[in-house]
Amino acid sequence: MPRFLKEFFDRNGLGIGSLMLGLVLFWTIGLIILPQLSMLDFSFRPNLPPPEIGGPKDVYTMENYKYLVFGPEGGSQDYNAVDLKVFYRTLIAAIFVTIFNLILCYPIAYYLAQTKGNHIRIFALMLIIPYWINEILRAFALRIIFGETGVLNNLLVAAGVFDTPFDFIRNDIALYAGLGYAYILLMIFPIYNVIESLDRNQIEAARDMGASWPMIHRRVVIPYAKPGISSGCTMVFMLSAGALAAPQILGGPSSLWFTQLIYQQFNDNSDWPQGAAYAVVLLVTCILLVLAVMRLFKVNMGDIGK
């Protein structure tokens, strides 16, 4: 038995220890790894009617992946321009949402972490309580705000900023706002957690030596908060790229999110293998992108767990 396992059992006893270990293994293997492997398996199989499954036609194939890149065989175009464009736009938009969230949340997290007093608790509550409301309801609420006859347009037209209502939905502003708002807590709390443990004296020491505020953040606070920032960015990026409700409700009629394509394949076309292939591509691309960015900013995997 490896040492860490022995220590684990020594500390928790055999009964509770096995129960905890069993639950964790069930969670990771039974609920995450096995279903994902089954999806991976699906993605390499043709879409067959049930009687033919397991029959001679049920062989591994790359056709689902080829479809994403080249489109239907004998189609009019060389590449599957529509789906690839949606894929590319989804990733860019998710990156944009992540950066926007970081810029918005870093000052909030810093303020929450470095200020003392009761109002901070109220402030944090005000951030948390809206999340008691269902994600779909929140998305519809934003639709009411951003809609053509919505609150925001009424205000802006009344104030004379616009002559006619501005279409926030068609211009994807509602979508970005919705996605941004959906995940701010996931950005704020990891950063808040790290900055809270930053010794205030370090900030004062830097100030005493003549550092300006931007310099203090660049050289003292941000390097210290890097694990929190990377953890927040990873979560927001992954969840935005994989979001479904917000794009469905807040997206304009012409803008599709890649997850909506996946949903269509599974649900509308009943083509599970095709949907699985799309989902696998999205997952793998997102992971590679995150790993590449982590490498660029010299973040270790272990830091993310901090």
């Binding site: 004296n201 370090q202 004062e204 020491a205 100030r207 005493d208 030596m209 550092a211 300006s212 050289r219």
Partner: protein, 370 residues
């Protein structure tokens, strides 16, 4: 380095709401001095330091550095450098980057900074340690890095907030000598905050004794120790035996005190209270443990004390004798170990004598609680 910039506090008041942290402080600190603020925790000494460094605006009064009023000048613009109690080294920067952070702010090149860091590392006797992280150094080494970092900014005044309190005893005593040497070498003004009277006495040119926001006495170590001006200063700095009573008679510099337990005793009136003590006033008389000498048992007079011995201790360099004291506390007597034979007197009366010059009479006041 520019040497000899003085610091003045003029009628300084600092309030937090209703709480007065510093009350009407008037201090003149000579340029190039090693000046200590000595007092128990919560007496306002750190608050004074924060006002000098600029992290805190005084409620009233002025902080002058080199004769210039510092009002409205932020900590990053003052010619001071502060060494924090926990040092506050940047954990993610290498030692040399830590030391030269103030140069980085001014935009100095990496080469210039590295050169300066190496000079400073030599000065603090840590050559070739520049590429380590602070966490890879020992407590004493980190201490020296913090000093080098503060000196790198070439401040006129170095402020130190109990920087030795986290070190163990041996290292602390070693760092005292080292700090004093560094101060002499660079020649700038050091303002040192401590609750440890040993640190204050060994290092400082001058000391301000503080109690509950008030500065009780300012003077050099010898004056503070030998000629305290309040009962608090007498009881806080060093060990002291207190005798309570009332003034019976004052003659020139000496006062005859009618003590509660030990009869009428003579004492020298402290310089700060000359002419202020009148017959009938409540008074306190202080005699240091080392100021007593053994006297023939039964000797009587105005400089003899007789009491029962309750306990004895051999400390190596001295015999400590504890006796029934005046006012609840045990009276402590230290007799230097000069190789004499020493018979136990436990439970028996013992008579001591003292030189009147070594007994200080003060108006009654609050004593330091330990």
């Amino acid at each position: 380095m520019s040497a000899g910039v003085g610091v003045d506090l003029e009628n300084l008041w600092i309030r937090f709401g209703d709480f007065v942290a510093v009350r009407d402080a008037k201090v003149h600190i000579n340029g190039g001095d090693f000046f200590s603020f000595l007092g128990p925790s919560g007496c306002g000494k750190t608050t004074i330091l924060r006002a000098v460094s600029g992290f805190l605006e005084p409620s009233e009064g002025q902080v002058l550095i080199g004769g210039k009023d510092m009002k409205g000048i932020g900590p990053n613009k003052r010619p001071t450098a502060l060494i924090f109690q926990n040092l506050a080294l940047f954990p993610l920067m290498k030692v040399w980057e830590n030391i030269t952070f103030s140069m980085e702010i001014k935009g100095a090149s990496a080469r210039e900074r590295r050169k300066r860091a190496d000079e400073l590392l030599d000065m603090i006797a840590l050559p070739d340690q520049g590429d380590k992280l602070p966490s890879e150094l020992s407590g004493g080494q980190r201490q020296r890095v913090a000093i080098a970092r503060a000196l790198c900014a070439e401040p006129d005044v170095l402020l130190l907030d109990e920087p030795l309190s986290a070190l163990d005893l041996k290292l602390r005593q070693h760092m005292r000598t080292e700090l004093r040497e560094i101060q002499k070498r660079v020649g700038i003004t050091f303002i040192y905050i401590t609750h440890d009277q040993g640190e204050a006495l060994t290092m400082s040119d001058n000391i301000a004794v503080m109690r509950a926001g008030v500065i009780d006495q300012i003077g050099d170590g010898k004056t503070i120790y030998n000629d305290p001006s309040t009962a608090f200063a007498a009881s806080f700095v060093g060990e002291n035996n207190v005798f309570r009573g009332t003034v019976k008679q004052v003659q020139g510099d000496t006062a005859l005190i009618a003590t509660n337990r030990s009869g009428d005793l003579l004492a020298r009136v402290s310089s700060a209270n000359k002419g202020k003590m009148k017959p009938g006033d409540d008074a306190m008389m202080f005699i240091r443990p080392e100021a007593f000498a053994l006297a023939p048992v039964g000797s009587e007079g105005d400089h003899f004390v007789t009491a029962t011995v309750t306990n004895e201790e051999f400390e190596g360099n001295a015999f400590n004798i504890f006796m029934e004291g005046d006012g609840g506390k045990e009276m402590k007597v230290s007799l230097p170990n000069l190789g004499q034979s020493f018979d136990s007197h436990k439970g028996q009366p013992m008579t001591l004598q003292y030189d009147v010059q070594n007994a200080v009479a003060l108006p009654a006041g609050d004593l330091a609680t330990e």
